[in-house]
Symmetry: D2
Subunit: 242 residues, 4 copies
């Protein structure tokens, strides 16, 4: 069985130097950290980032060779070229899995796939966060307990302005009184999408074993099961004759 | 009670002259026909069309004063300015109801609200069409029988590449062997959307009393129940103190 | 316009005497309290309770004359006769609205309408509870703020073993670290259902203005818009002849 | 990897003798036919039927040892003992996959899992049937074309009185003018359910390669991915201390 081809995309700004808290938590960048943390025989992982090249490392060819794309962006959504964002959307429609993490709820490809503002309430206040697994028989939650905690995370709270998810997977509780639909699946075209909220750059969430297990499960779940024809607008002759 | 402010938007190309079949069926244009056919004391209806002005008749002000927007476009989706399409999308997010008709499944505002290709199979072959009411206790189907027929319609068939609808209202049967999820609701931001497939310009579907009843019901259903705050991305203080 | 015929059903055990906390909070019983608190010109409210008569006050005739049924039960679900539970289910299928409150998540009619265990995690520990309105453009949340708090409520938490709701209306936050899908809509047959979690008998939740507004809105939302034929299994002749 | 343990349950009345059309199409019964037609190295298939023993062949032990249960019943739903129906429902809640076929839309376990009447319109008139695959990237439709036809099937048509499915997989077209949501998934407790409409006893639908592929795919999809704890109503201590 061929390994799944995974591309991890990172904005790679806050974590670029070792002087920031993000840089200390994720030396080499979050993409490099996740690549190592998710390494497995069935995954063939590459990375890309905003400043890699004129395509942010996401040329047509890279995307054609990607089964599942992870995306982490925060402060520089506006710097992502429209052309690249549209290319990602088109590949999702063709069947590429897409896993936007944390603040990527405002990333161009995610918002274009949702068709809603994707806004939410937020707070950087080191809230304790408890994630509740509300879909315990879903492939994404295999091996994940009924609940697990992150000692500190950025608060992301309702109302989260998304379309009704296909499936609700995680609900998050925050110390300061907020709740959040923090793990949701969507289908767009032939592509599967999983949004997952942990991963603020100043917190060690991508070192947490449950967070990593969820992302790893989501990669396998989002991978297209086989090559499928994308169906364009097309004329069709009658099946039944008059 | 104030009447609902309805704007009917029409591409107004095929039906512009009396020499075409569309022009004969809808003298003055489909928008004018629908305005008269839907007239009621609780509705304040205006019209707009592609060539009306540089905004296609949909200035910021018109949209701010519109509770529900109907949209009919077919051959000239590409001529709708991106700026106007984005303005419509933004107003739907704020709560304006939106009712794309027939070939508007490929209209810019609808596709941007869906986040999918919205493609389908189609055929201009005068297929008989039977519409099945699969949601008989929905406000949109009040007074509508379990099924009704249109003697001739353009075939629109699966696979229709939309996100899973909030509610499936009508399923259509076509003589040539096709089926179609031809009446679907969606919520995007604070706005309600109802897509409805009848209305090919060379067929008299907008003269059919059941089609008109459905559209009339949908207008009342899609109208925002009251002014509501649109919720932007916003910082939020803790509700519960540490 | 004829008033909606509402029946409020209460187990009426814990609140039967003035010596209990429940009895002190709700003299005459919760049903009597809710009847007065929800009184409005467009509602014609009657009450019924477990010990009222052999049908628990819910004869065929009472149910036929009920547009929306509220249900509060807690410790005596097993005492409700199967025949009465089935009668309630049948009326919901015919279009009667149904609003199970608080511990009625385990009531016979609700469980039979859901087809799942409807189990959850719970705790009587006077947790503070914050309810989040995640569906701000829904009729049930008209006039309800983005969030509101109950100083003390019984904790009801995930995983709540229900089918995926048609719509998620409220998510609840609890002081002790739990979250709950505490306000959900479902459709079963022609009937609309709204489950809402506040209302522990030892807390004054049914004195809270937001809780009462939600219940009042839900009654109007759940009311059948018109008499509708219930559709039995039936033979059907071809619409299209071979 | 251990094979999936599949039990095929058949009413086994119409197909019991070789004198009936059903008996000629399915010598030994539909269960025996399906057992052979679905045989594969990863499946360990056993059969059971109404008259097998006092439990209709579905003892506690058999169900505990079943990962996925197929069910075919038609004329004798009322003869299935309530106790056995409840046992099937309880096992689905624990995670057993359940695949009701054809007229099993009225079988006791299916109706109890749905909570609705599950009624529909029907006609025995040898209608040609076209099945449309509306979810082409779903595991159940792997290897299944966009559409395929059955020359003759019993017409099953809308309105089908089920709760909104989790996913719509197939829509069926019938020669006589009807449509049907003929392939639908549901989740109930930890169990996955797939209803699929072909399989009238006087038609050779279970000889059709596409029908068999769909059922085979559905078995693998419905199988529980691992043993999971079923979560009862339970008291829970605070995670966060006051």
């Amino acid at each position: 069985m061929k390994p799944l081809r995974v591309t991890i995309w990172n904005e790679y700004l806050a974590d670029r130097t070792k002087r920031t808290r993000a840089g200390k938590l994720y030396p080499g960048g979050m993409h490099e950290h996740l690549k190592q943390a998710l390494a497995a025989p069935d995954l063939d992982i590459r990375t890309a980032w905003l400043g890699k090249d004129i395509n942010h490392g996401l040329s047509d060819r890279v995307l054609k060779e990607t089964d599942v794309l992870l995306w982490w962006g925060h402060g520089a959504h506006g710097m992502v070229r429209d052309k690249v964002a549209d290319r990602v959307v088109a590949r999702v429609h063709e069947g590429m899995g897409f896993i936007p993490l944390h603040s990527s709820h405002m990333a161009k490809p995610f918002r274009r796939l949702m068709g809603t503002p994707c806004t939410l309430r937020w707070r950087e206040n080191d809230d304790k966060c408890v994630l509740w697994n509300v879909n315990p028989n879903h492939p994404i939650t295999q091996g994940v307990p009924l609940h697990f905690a992150l000692e500190k995370e950025e608060m992301y709270g309702e109302r989260f302005d998304i379309p009704q998810p296909d499936e609700l997977i995680f609900l998050s509780w925050f110390e300061g009184g907020n709740v959040f639909r923090g793990g949701c699946t969507f289908t767009r075209g032939a592509g599967r999408i999983f949004y997952f909220h942990p991963g603020h750059e100043t917190h060690p969430s991508f070192h947490d074993e449950n967070v990593l297990r969820v992302i790893g499960n989501a990669i396998r779940w989002a991978a297209p099961p086989e090559p499928r024809d994308f169906m364009p607008n097309a004329v069709m002759k009658p099946i039944i004759e008059k």
